[in-house]
Amino acid sequence: MNSAGDLASRWATNVVRATAIGLLAFVIFGPLANLLLWAFAERWYFPAKVPQEFGLAFWVRVFQPRGNAVQSLLTSVGIALMTVAFCLAVAVPAGYALARLKLPWRGFILMLFLLPQAIPNLPIYVNIARMFYEVGLNGTVLGVVLVHASHGLVLAVWIASAAFAAVDESLEQAARNMGAGPWRCFATITLPLAAPGLIASAIFVFLESLDEFTGTYFVGVPDVITLPLLMFNASMGGNYQIASITALLLLIPSIGFMLLVERFLKADVLAMVGR
């Protein structure tokens, strides 16, 4: 009797568990599945539950050589690569200084690097757009790169600093004791050991730039059309197929990184973020 009751209650717990996981799976994947349907829908009119006709006609339209999607993709990737180069060039020395060197006004400097995360970026973008308009940077690729870089830099500095802080200092000491100069020690010990964290920060900056919308919306128009802007225009124009295909293009790197992030960003580095 008792064991039968136990069995029943265990069975009930299992049903509750399975239902909860199933519901969560629907909440997570339902919206994504809906996007997939739209991306492959040739015709889909209310009140059909699924498209009346599937096909690749819109994919052909998006990827035709003269189509603006290919152009936007190239623009987006180019801007993201330049943003990464700029951010790393600035963030690596800054991160090293924050992690290893004695800094005057350290608390104040740290706060300066925390502040941009704690403030809505809309006023920043609106006024950068005005500043850029004065100097002719509005609607240029360089202008968009600078906006993306200023946004990505804060994150890059944090992660770079955490990556350097996680490197075991006694290894550097050993190299120095054996006669390696500071540069040699940095290039052969510190930098290779911090590399996974730095790669993670580069990927973060790349993704942030690839996905950035608000800054590009104000600074890039009308000449620089990145993938997010193309998606937005298609969606607002009511072309759900084009919008969904573009959204899928943006989803691939995001989800790929989500699956890989732990390879690069180990717990020991994560624990040092913001210290």
Binding site: I21, L32, A94, G107, L110, Q117, V126, L146, L153, G274
Partner: protein, 276 residues
């Protein structure tokens, strides 16, 4: 002494970028919102902002607060089960599931929800198909509910990731002692685990709060008509009227909302820096 200046030299390019692309535009925003047309200072732009957009301000704060609260609840529930759950397969499934939206950009979230929550979207088809609602009761959720759902869907995994990480690094003895004394898991979670990771939860929720305050794409795509969020109003003032004064006044009002959260966050972050 030498090393001190070396550090300053290494960090100066980053500081320069922050100054030019963050502090200067921020200053410009303050000046623009307070400057009268002929020169001199005025509060007229703020008066006009409140006159035209008070409803939207309330709408914005309500949506962002509600979303933040829901994000915290979801994050505590998922991270809590990942830490204290006893069924390993469920834990693994949960860990695999919850993080999918982690790096999906807001603009894609907007598009995804625009199709999912529409009147003929998948949500309604599933609800009708499952017999949960009548076909005639199907309604579009593309209003304030859509914005909240999009925000929680996108932002909860981020806070959960932070929170689960913090919970995993806690001492297990306390938790096991409480479990051995027969405390139910939800009480262990709320009474023992949560107080120790309060700081991490706070940082995650405040960062989400500030981020949501300045997202333009989601409200524009899901609910562009009045009442809407202040970011949409700012974009409208600029693109339709070229009215930077009122746009900046609106920006500063949302900055005041954010600064409350930001103060809490900076306070905590600096304290942690001090301890480390």
């Amino acid at each position: 002494m030498n090393r001190k200046w070396a550090g300053l030299l290494l960090i100066s390019p980053a500081l320069l970028v922050i100054a030019v692309f963050f502090l200067v535009p921020l200053g410009l925003s303050v000046v623009t919102s307070l400057q009268a047309k002929g020169g001199g200072w005025t509060l007229a732009h703020f008066e006009k902002s409140f006159e035209l957009y008070t409803t939207d301000m309330i709408f914005t704060v309500a949506i962002v607060l509600l979303s933040s609260a829901l994000i915290a609840v979801v994050a505590i529930a998922i991270a809590g089960y990942l830490t204290l759950g006893e069924h390993e397969r469920t834990r693994n499934a949960l860990r695999w599931l919850y993080r999918w939206p982690l790096f999906i950009p807001f603009i894609v979230t907007g598009q995804v929800m625009r199709t999912f929550l529409a009147k003929n979207g998948m949500l309604n088809h599933v609800l009708v198909g499952g017999g949960l609602i009548e076909p005639l009761a199907a309604q579009s959720m593309l209003d304030w509910r859509g914005i909240v759902i999009a925000f929680v869907w996108k932002q909860a995994p981020f806070v959960t990731l932070l929170l689960a990480g913090a919970m995993a690094s806690l001492e297990v003895q306390h938790i096991e002692a409480a479990r051995n004394l027969g405390a139910p898991r939800w009480r262990v979670l709320l009474g023992i685990v949560l107080p120790q990771v309060r700081g991490t939860l706070l940082v995650g929720v405040v960062l989400s709060f500030v981020t949501m305050l300045s997202v333009l794409s989601v409200p524009m795509m899901i609910n562009p008509n009045s009442p809407t969020m202040m970011t949409v109003d700012v974009a409208y003032r600029i693109s339709t009227h070229g009215d930077y004064a009122v746009a900046n006044a609106l920006c500063l009002v949302s900055l005041v909302f954010a600064s409350l959260g930001a103060w809490v966050y900076l306070h905590h972050a600096v304290k942690r820096v001090g301890v480390a």
